[in-house]
């Protein structure tokens, strides 16, 4: 058993944030040890033989051993038994991983290029941040608005693809407070490797307060609401707002009221209508030096009130 613990400690797996993580690591620890033994047998045997039987004279006599039925049976049968045992053990854990608990707290997560949009039951929305209470079953309902993404929390040992046009789900019960990484593991283009979110495990009270705070945000002043939306709709992943630095798209910092040169040489005034048009029909006018077709349209995804909030926010970036 000591070996077993050593193997687990050396397995380099991230913190065990859930009970399932422990189960997975146990099986992995077992596999590490068996694999290690298998490699020692095969590689060790090989090294021993090549050394012991290295060529000594140019005309060495060698043994003529063409087969050995008993040995061959043994080394087919033993791996088979081990593989089947591992398979059954794996099946058991996988079943625990996939059987959705009843009465779980449900959170909807939408993958899109290149952010995770999170929505709670009460309508509160955030981006790239999932907050959950400790010790409760949580079910994440996944989908995607463009291409396939995959929701991966290494510390919880869970992963599930977010597929456009259907829902998939996964569940977990967090057992450690703290922040954990969410990675996208299904390749999804330009900023795939920046599609990183945070899974925050907090106490029950903090969680309730968090949701309440979300409710209050609905009564914010217009520009503040815009700021929020700017983050939630992941505009921030492509546009900088606090410096002239260019990300994927043009910076929006201190732009309002100035003129902008388009790729056809035309100059347009950066005003309310220009902002509105850029959100709804991003490919109509392309700023000089940027490629066409990168920014998706938000037509149908924002209501008039939200549009005004965004305009107000961008206006105030001075």
């Amino acid at each position: 058993m000591m070996w077993f613990n050593i193997a687990k400690a050396q397995s380099f797996m991230p913190t065990q944030g859930t009970e399932i993580a422990k189960q997975v690591d146990n099986l992995y620890g077992f596999l590490l040890i068996t694999s290690f033994i298998a490699c020692v047998l095969v590689i060790g045997g090989m090294i021993y033989f090549v050394w012991k039987y290295r060529r000594k004279t140019p005309n060495d006599k060698t043994a003529y051993i063409s087969h050995n039925t008993f040995l061959e049976f043994l080394w087919s049968f033993i791996p088979l038994v081990i593989f089947l045992a591992v398979f059954v053990w794996g099946w058991y854990i996988y079943h625990n991983m996939r059987a959705m608990p009843k009465n779980a707290l449900e959170i909807n997560v939408l993958g899109k290029q290149w952010a995770w949009e999170v929505e709670y039951k009460n309508g509160y929305k955030t981006v790239n941040e999932v907050v959950v209470p400790i010790g409760q079953d949580v079910k994440i309902l996944l989908t995607s608005s463009d291409v396939i993404h995959s929701f991966f929390v290494p510390s919880f040992r869970i992963k599930q693809d977010a597929v456009p046009g259907r829902y998939t789900a996964l569940w977990f019960r967090a057992e450690k407070l703290g922040d954990f990484h969410i990675f996208c593991t299904e390749y999804c283009g330009t900023s795939h490797s920046a599609m990183i979110g945070k899974l925050k495990v907090v106490s029950r009270e903090d969680f309730d307060r968090y949701l309440e705070q979300g409710q209050e945000e609905r009564n914010l002043p217009l520009a503040k609401k815009g700021e929020k939306l700017f983050a939630v709709k992941a505009c921030a992943s492509c546009h900088s707002v606090d410096s002239a630095a260019v990300k994927v798209g043009p910076s929006l910092f201190q732009k309002f009221g100035h003129e902008e040169e388009m790729d056809n040489g035309e100059k347009l005034k950066f005003d309310e209508n220009y902002i509105r048009e850029s959100i709804l029909e991003p490919n109509k006018h392309i700023v000089k030096g940027f490629p066409k077709g990168v920014m998706p349209t938000f037509q149908g995804q924002l209501n008039e009130n939200e549009l005004s909030a965004l305009v107000e926010y961008i206006k105030e970036l001075k």
């Binding site: 694999s35 090549v50 591992v86 291409v147």
Partner: protein, 536 residues
């Protein structure tokens, strides 16, 4: 003037002269060499891209340093796609069958040529045309889908997917033609006395591979055509926006591509079988087990594609069945490993460079194999899927396995192919660098994967920095090794001492003719009276 008989001093290289005689040749040996040159060229291109990828990953982009070669995600993703696609479709899949198989299958069987020499030439032209089409996309409209072309990303991204896919389609035709040719050759052209059970194991491996190529490749072809149709005409098979199913593409794709990984590895296993017996000067242990396990692996490999899709949203039941079947493929693979090690027992083992590569194969393939079992285990794969663990695993199998075997086989048959010897010390040096460099490059990636670093990332969080640095340094060691190897080969061809007919004292037929062989392979048709490895 060349007459059709092999007279004194004539060999397949000087039999006819001029570039044109090569481009129109139907001699399987010449075609094998033409494949060799093409594959080495593509390997060079794919290799340079690999070095660039590793350079980019030297450090996270937050720190300013060498780790900023490919500047932004798009360029990295494109280079990644070409690296993967070139290495898979133009190096590892054709590698052993097209180079060594073409050259040695007829020689192994005691035949004059393959069954359909003209089709053989046509398949080289298919390969070149497909490869050219695919590589040319790089110069006007780069693709960035990854070599797997997953939908709906591949449908949406505004790049040359259709052209690339067409290239892969044409290369697939080349693969089918070669497979067909090999199957008929094995059945029809064996020398008198050469029963199926007296064929060298390399031939058995090529035969199993050929069956796979014939059955699996058309599925890829159809899938790629559907993808092209979807992209051009929006037919709505894979795109959810048109009512299609994006996961369907993955089913189709892996239905080909899983067998394809065996198309890549079974020939390597065949080469290794030859090397191990020859350099231990001992009959192979368990000939029948090795021969039939190739066929067994080929058969089962059609039913395990779903292990690439454990987290794709396929049903729990499907996942369980695929995991079970995958475990079953592990058994014949394990059998082969034990047989090779048992062959060494009481042998007379020499450490010539081909043997070093074979032993390197056993070492690396053992690690590739056990990590394969880990990935076949459902809940563990949920954590490892699409992380660097997978990157490490497939490099251990494909590079550590197939490429090691390809190089071992290449050095082994070098004297026969060119009639010259290479510099043994250089070849050994090359092996040492490649072997050490390989482990330094890819072993840390198992750990990175366990820690959770996803694959196809052009940037990463600082926690992964140290191991990525180690890995990048390893890639420079591999480069050094290949440069030594290249030098050994070029030097050997130009200035190597003349090789004898059978420098390794091997028993198989190809060594019973002159080096290099005459145009017709054998001056007198050989008659076979015993198995291929009668070392007594």
């Amino acid at each position: 003037m060349a007459t059709k008989s092999a007279h004194h001093g004539d060999n397949y290289i000087n039999f006819e002269k001029g570039l044109w005689s090569w481009l129109t040749t139907v001699d399987h040996k010449r075609i094998g060499l033409m494949y060799m040159i093409s594959v080495m060229f593509f390997f060079f291109v794919g290799g340079v891209m690999a070095l660039l990828l590793r350079l980019e990953l030297f450090a996270p982009n937050a720190t300013a340093n060498v780790g900023q070669v490919l500047k932004n995600g798009d360029v990295y993703n494109q280079v990644l796609t070409y690296h993967g696609a070139i290495m898979v479709f133009m190096v590892i899949v054709p590698g052993i069958p097209a180079i060594l198989g073409n050259f040695f299958l007829p020689l192994h069987l005691g035949a004059k040529d393959v069954a359909f020499p003209k089709i053989n030439l046509a398949s080289w032209y298919c390969f070149m045309a497909g490869a050219a089409l695919a590589v040319l996309t790089f110069f006007f409209n780069k693709i960035d889908t990854g070599w797997t072309f997953y939908t709906p990303y591949s449908i949406r991204t505004g790049t040359a997917t259709v052209m690339m896919v067409l290239g892969a389609f044409i290369m697939g035709m080349s693969s089918v033609l070669t497979g067909l040719n090999f199957i008929v050759t094995v059945h029809k052209l064996r020398a008198p006395g050469m029963t199926m059970h007296r064929m060298p194991l390399f031939v058995w491996a090529l035969y199993s591979t050929a069956i796979l190529q014939m059955l699996a490749t058309p599925v890829l072809a159809i899938t790629l055509l559907l993808l092209a149709a979807e992209k051009l005409f929006g037919v709505g098979i894979f795109d959810p926006a048109l009512g299609g199913d994006p996961v369907l593409f993955q089913h189709f794709f892996w239905f080909y591509s899983h067998p394809a990984v065996y198309i890549m590895i079974i020939p390597a296993m065949g080469v290794v079988s030859e090397l191990i017996t020859t350099f231990s000067r001992k009959v192979i242990f368990g000939y029948t087990a090795i021969a039939y396990s190739s066929l067994g692996i080929a058969a089962v490999s059609f039913f395990v594609w779903g292990h690439h899709m454990f987290v794709s949203g396929q049903s729990e039941t499907a996942g369980i069945i695929f995991s079970f079947l995958t475990m079953l493929v592990g058994v014949p693979t394990a059998i082969k490993m034990f047989n090779w090690v048992a062959t060494l027992y009481k042998g007379s083992i020499s450490f010539d460079s081909p043997m070093l590569f074979a032993l390197g194969f056993l070492f690396l393939f053992a690690i590739g194999g056990v990590t394969g079992i880990m990935l076949a285990t459902l809940p563990i794969d949920v954590h490892f899927h699409d992380t660097y663990f997978v990157v490490a695993h497939f490099h251990y199998v494909m590079v550590g396995g197939t490429l090691m075997a390809l190089m071992g086989g290449f050095y082994y048959w070098f004297p026969k192919m060119f009639g010259k010897m290479f510099n043994e010390n250089l070849a050994r040096l090359s092996f040492v660098f490649i072997f050490i460099g390989f482990n330094v490059t890819f072993f840390p990636q198992f750990i990175l994967g366990a820690m959770g670093m996803p694959r196809r990332y052009f940037d990463y969080i600082p926690a992964y920095e140290t191991l990525n640095k180690v890995s990048t340094v390893g890639s420079w060691l591999i480069l050094t090794g290949f440069l030594f190897g290249l030098y050994a080969i070029v030097q050997g061809i130009r200035k190597g001492p003349k090789a004898s007919m059978n420098p390794w004292n091997s028993k198989t037929l190809e060594w019973q003719t002159s080096s290099p062989p005459p145009h017709d392979n054998f001056a007198v048709e050989p008659i076979v009276t015993a198995g291929p490895y009668e070392y007594r």
